[in-house]
């Protein structure tokens, strides 16, 4: 019955008055919301944690995210929703709404998942969808909805900085909010200074509000931004601290249009203990009225909480009352709230509306998960100040921007602050593969602190890793200390480099579907692995590593041959050593004891005027050494990786312009010749010798 009566009042009142029960005017809410968004961590969260590169500048469906936020601040006042924007901090929350029961307390409304449509949980759901929905369009639309929802949530906080909304006052006609809107419209510099707040008193809530006990009626801690339940009606001093709900601060320290000095009102819905007549002193101020400066007397708040501002005008009959000592209970003095009072209010309330709004936005994104490692072994850590109890799931985007959960990559855990889940492994998705391998969205859903169903998102990079194991093709023993690289076939970028360990293993980051393995120095020629034990000299011929190439330990074993070049050398008949030698200048000397102190001495000198290697397949010729070279290059330097697949085959010819001198003599132990030399022959010859691929 009572609710119907008041609804009737409001309906009739709405027909005759231009403003009934509105909160801050729509443009004011919008601007406070924009400033709160600017002051919050939203932009950083979007860019750094979620990988939204343009942050708040991101445009979704034609509007920037700041506009979606502002739109929420605007639209929360839509038809009849405003009835749920009141909270009397001195009432039980179930009866703290407008006039007790006309509307729901703004705290409950903000968490009413049944009726609001934009409750905290609705916004959480939208955020979860923004992180996980398959299509990009759906994700973006959900993100826009989440931001609009946040705008609506901060609207409720801002209303707690409007005295009428905390003092059960439908506040028809000209009021605090309309004055603030007028100043916003016509004295922007004053409004801007309110938004900025005073450096001495910025009105920023003590972060401890997040840890206060939750109320089952509205378990999400944001309720405490509005009402901490620390101001109980008899302790206004507590409202000057930073650990106080905004509605408590506003209720205890300010009047609304129809709730002025109502500490003794017989109606409990109108009765508020503070401020009261003991909270004020009187003081004259100069004010400008219609261009003239006049004195006006004000009640100045001097005790019982916040102090030092004009609380109300002193009624015109104040002197009359004092002079004749009239009975207060039978005399209405009619103090009022004028522009100067409203400006003093706004100077204190608007910065708090901004700061508390920013606090709510930051709270929404407070969850922090930090991931490190690679997919062979990674961990994630709860970087938040609160325990997280729920499921962590990895998602990835395929080449069509479809977001998909990574198969097998969901972990349900309870993590204390700084708690970690360690030594996890992951198989990089291949069907379909990731658009950007290694890039994932890690999404937590579950209880976080007092919030029963929180959502945390974090873009993480978990590099896919493989183990390249190089073994000798001939006997299967490991190649130790061999360099191996993973190369992106699309960009040519070296993704990772490593040296094989004692077992021939090297861990390499890779991109599934676009990586080839490069072995630069096991042989004298560079080799791209081409599958099995074959190799290519070009990246195009390399095999793109497939998941099927890897075993359960993400290991690919590559039998790599040690390739030799082989060609026949003739033996000189007299000295019985090589006729020519593959060195530019060299001497060979051998002495064989024959007994009776005689020595069979052989001395051979070699000269290479020019040695070239000519490949049979393409005719390319390469000089290996000449008379000016200090050493000859091994013919394998002219080999290519494909030659590793041609063991036993002739791949080219040596063209040698050689000379040598072969000398053989019997000497005594002191080197003195005994008799004539056996031979002393000079050779000079140009020869062509086939070169065969051999394997060590």
């Amino acid at each position: 019955m009572r609710q119907h009566v008041w609804l009737a009042i409001l309906w009739i009142a709405s027909l005759v008055s231009p403003s009934v029960a509105t909160s801050y005017e729509v443009p004011t809410h919008e601007e406070i919301t924009r400033i709160a968004g600017k002051r919050s961590t939203l932009d950083e969260v979007l860019r750094v944690r979620l990988g939204v590169s343009n942050g708040l500048d991101t445009i979704i469906r034609g509007q920037g995210l700041t506009e979606w936020l502002a739109q929420g601040g605007r639209r929360e006042d839509d038809f009849l929703r405003f009835l749920n924007h009141f909270h009397n901090p001195l009432a039980d929350w179930s009866a703290a709404g407008l006039l007790g029961s006309v509307g729901q307390s703004s705290i409950l409304w903000g968490q009413n998942a049944t009726l609001s449509g934009w409750s905290w949980q609705d916004v959480r759901n939208a955020y979860f969808d923004a992180l996980t929905r398959p299509t990009r369009t759906d994700r973006e639309t959900s993100l826009a909805r989440a931001f609009e929802g946040l705008g609506r949530q901060v609207h409720l906080v801002q209303d707690a900085a409007s005295p009428a909304h905390t003092r059960n006052d439908p506040h028809a006609l000209h009021n605090y909010e309309s004055l603030v809107e007028q100043v916003q419209r016509q004295d922007q510099s004053a409004f801007t200074s309110w938004l900025a707040g005073s450096p001495d008193s910025p009105g920023v809530p003590d972060p401890a509000w997040q840890a206060l006990d939750s109320d089952p009626l509205a378990p999400v801690a944001t309720a405490r931004l509005i009402d901490t339940d620390r101001y109980l009606g008899g302790n206004p001093a507590v409202t000057t601290g930073a650990l106080i709900g905004l509605a408590e601060y506003t209720n205890a320290n300010f009047f609304s249009e129809d709730r002025i000095f109502t500490e003794n009102d017989i109606d409990p819905l109108r009765r508020f203990p503070y401020p009261n007549r003991a909270s004020v002193t009187e003081q004259d101020f100069d004010v400008v009225a219609r261009g003239a400066t006049v004195k006006r007397r004000y009640f100045v708040k001097s005790s019982d909480g916040a102090t030092g501002y004009r609380l109300a005008t002193v009624g015109l009959l104040r002197d009359y009352h004092q002079r004749f000592n009239l009975d207060w209970t039978r005399f209405r003095e009619s103090p009022a709230l004028d522009e100067a009072v409203y400006r003093d209010y706004a100077e204190r309330l608007v910065p708090r509306a901004v700061a508390y709004s920013a606090a709510l936005l930051d709270y929404f994104f407070r969850g922090l998960v930090i991931a490190s490692g690679d997919d062979l072994s990674f961990e994630f850590v709860n970087g938040s100040d609160e325990a997280m109890d729920g499921t962590f799931t990895l998602y990835y985007d395929d080449p069509s921007d479809v977001r998909r959960p990574v198969p097998g990559a969901a972990w349900t855990r309870v993590l204390a602050p700084s708690g970690a889940v360690e030594d996890l492994s992951l198989s990089a998705p291949t069907s379909p593969p990731a658009k950007e391998p290694g890039k994932y969205m890690l999404v937590f859903r579950g209880a976080m602190g007092s919030e029963p169903d929180a959502v945390v998102g974090r873009q993480v990079f978990i590099e896919p890793m493989l183990v390249a194991r190089l073994i000798k093709r001939s006997d299967g023993t490991p190649h130790r200390g061999a360099a191996v690289q993973a190369i992106d076939v699309q960009t040519g970028e070296v993704l990772a480099s490593g040296l094989t360990d004692q077992d021939g293993r090297a861990r390499l980051a890779w991109k599934p579907g676009r990586t080839v393995l490069f072995i630069p120095s096991v042989n004298l020629f560079p080799m791209y692995w081409a599958g099995a034990s074959s190799f290519s000299s070009s990246i195009e011929g390399g095999r793109i590593v497939q998941a099927a190439d890897l075993d359960a330990q993400r290991e690919v074993t590559i039998p790599v041959p040690l390739i030799l070049a082989s060609w026949p050398e003739r033996i000189e008949a007299c000295t019985e050593v090589q006729l020519f030698s593959h060195v530019p200048r060299g001497t060979f000397q051998r002495g064989v004891l024959l007994g009776d102190d005689r020595v069979d001495l052989v001395i051979v000198t070699y000269t290479s005027n020019l040695i070239t290697f000519i490949r049979d397949d393409n005719g390319q010729e390469r000089d290996l050494c000449g008379v000016t070279s200090p050493a000859c290059v091994d013919p394998r330097a002219a080999f290519v990786a494909e030659d590793a697949n041609r063991v036993g085959q002739v791949v080219g010819h040596l063209m040698r312009d050689m000379a040598s001198t072969h000398f053989r003599q019997i000497t005594d132990a002191g080197g003195t010749p005994i008799g004539p030399h056996i031979c002393a022959t000079e050779y000079a010859e140009v020869e062509v010798i086939p070169v065969t691929v051999a394997e060590e």
């Binding site: 709405s14 008055s17 231009p18 729509v26 500048d57 506009e67 006042d77 038809f79 922007q188």
Partner: protein, 196 residues
């Protein structure tokens, strides 16, 4: 007192206050609503440092109205107009058609002045300070806009206002504003707006 007596009493009070008092605290200075056409609106826009006129700055005028519904009143956009400053940085915005047909409780227009690379009026400007109600109703008002600094300052400045606050269809209603906002966005490496 019974509840119905309180209803009648309160309604009577509201009727009296609504009809007789008629915004008793609204002075001439702070009147909210148009009592008559106030345009054309005029002014000059200059660089705050050099005092050089800013040609090509867009000037947007937005008229909101206070619409009363059962239980509620809301501020709604009623009309919006834009113009561009000339080579002297001056603008003249004729709003006769808007204001002569304006419904009751139409507010005085709000203005937005924007030039890429500069702070905007009224979000980030240098002068005039203080009370700005009606300043464009009379000649001689000069608005000084400060040149903005680095990219970060410019992008955060764009957060302070949005075209959709002025129109649901800004590309249709405010093409000059959209052109300049997009010029600014592109200049600082952001994706431009495109029509829905």
């Amino acid at each position: 007192m019974t509840a119905w007596v309180r209803v009648v009493a309160l309604c009577s009070l509201l009727v009296m206050s609504g009809t007789l008092a008629a915004w008793p605290q609204d002075t001439q200075t702070w009147d909210r609503y148009l009592d008559r056409p106030r345009g054309p609106y005029q002014g000059q826009v200059v660089d705050a440092e050099t005092k050089a006129p800013l040609a090509g700055a867009v000037v947007v005028a937005l008229w909101r109205r206070n619409r009363v519904y059962p239980f509620h009143s809301v501020s709604e956009n009623y009309a919006v107009r834009e113009t561009v400053t000339d080579t002297e940085g001056r603008f003249l915005l004729d709003a006769k058609d808007v204001e002569e047909g304006a419904p009751r409780r139409t507010y005085h227009p709000e203005f937005l002045i924007f030039q890429p690379g500069y702070g905007s009026y009224p979000r980030k400007y240098v002068s005039p300070k203080g009370f700005t109600g009606g300043i464009f109703e009379r000649p001689g008002t000069i608005v000084e806009l400060p040149r903005l600094g680095d990219r970060e300052e410019r992008r955060k400045h764009l957060w302070l206002f949005g075209p959709h606050s002025y129109s649901d269809k800004p590309f249709r209603d405010l093409p000059e504003l959209m052109r300049r906002i997009n010029t600014e966005r592109v200049a600082i490496g952001l994706e431009p707006y495109s029509p829905e």
